[in-house]
Assembly symmetry: C2
Homo-oligomer: 204 residues x 2
Amino acid sequence: MKLSDKVINRLTLYHNILIGYIEKGVSYISSPKIAALLDIDASQVRKDLKLLNNDGICKVGYPVEELKKSIEKFMGFVKTKEAFIVGAGNLGMALAKYDNFELYGFTIKALFDNDPLKVGVSINNKQVFHISNLDDMAKHSNVQIAILTVPRQAAQKIADFLVNAGIKYIWNFSPCVIEVPPAIRVWNENLIGNFLQFTINHEQ
Amino acid sequence: MKLSDKVINRLTLYHNILIGYIEKGVSYISSPKIAALLDIDASQVRKDLKLLNNDGICKVGYPVEELKKSIEKFMGFVKTKEAFIVGAGNLGMALAKYDNFELYGFTIKALFDNDPLKVGVSINNKQVFHISNLDDMAKHSNVQIAILTVPRQAAQKIADFLVNAGIKYIWNFSPCVIEVPPAIRVWNENLIGNFLQFTINHEQ
């Protein structure tokens, strides 16, 4: 089954909410409550959760722990994906510290940079290596995903290098569009576009 | 006119491509070229650019400079929006350094943190203030947007504080869903959801 981007986005947000409820020790959550937190329709929430074969209990709501596990199973979080972060500046460091990734079966194996001052540093138990080690490490680890957090000016050159090293998926945080061979998948994390969607459609 | 999220996203990516072409000194770009860079249909590109009343010249393509200006005008980048970054950790610092925001009329006025070691530091000509100054600075500057980059555990408490300070729009990068009064708009920057859209639908 192919899931739409909007469904994936909402299921991940429901999952975030459930984690918060588990932390607070709350056992049940209703669809209107989830809907209110995300400013969407409760019928939409119920429709999404039907995909998981999960039904709420009348007047009590959905059991929080079970629903969290259903989402994890449904979205395949169990299958671990491994990635390198390329560019150990502030953004790369922030992503290396983002523990939430691991909840989704997404593991950062190492960071890479060309700055000798950064090489050897550890962030959140992940080490920064010199970029010249990437080729060898990619080939010996089967890591196929690279998170690109280098400055705009370096992005294309580093993307070419990643492709040569056997990287198949690039999650591009650099604010520029990179050119890659057709077999390589690029996801442009278009931060400013995301925000403009928000501001343009909710005009101040 | 209400623009769909997908149109806004694509127009911002076209804009990124055009900036790269201007830097390289290229004067024209064709719709198949834009389409190939983003792995979408050329007919989609032409349809989007029709919205701007911009026509390509047969066999030459679109004039890069003009097209860039049309997108800026169409999307209202000229109207400046001002924001505070709340949380001067790696992610807050990365966003403060993200010069591309200014291209879209989006200006970061200041950062806030509760760590005394960070207060007084400047990043990209933007100063870090103690969080206790935010209320006063929000009221004296008419800044209505806050970019929330605090740890998950602090997010709700800081969101409450921002609402009391008169902030109307919260761009939430913390991996948790925050509760706010109905008049406040929240955009959840769901990084992991964005990435799952990419990996789930392009199965490895």
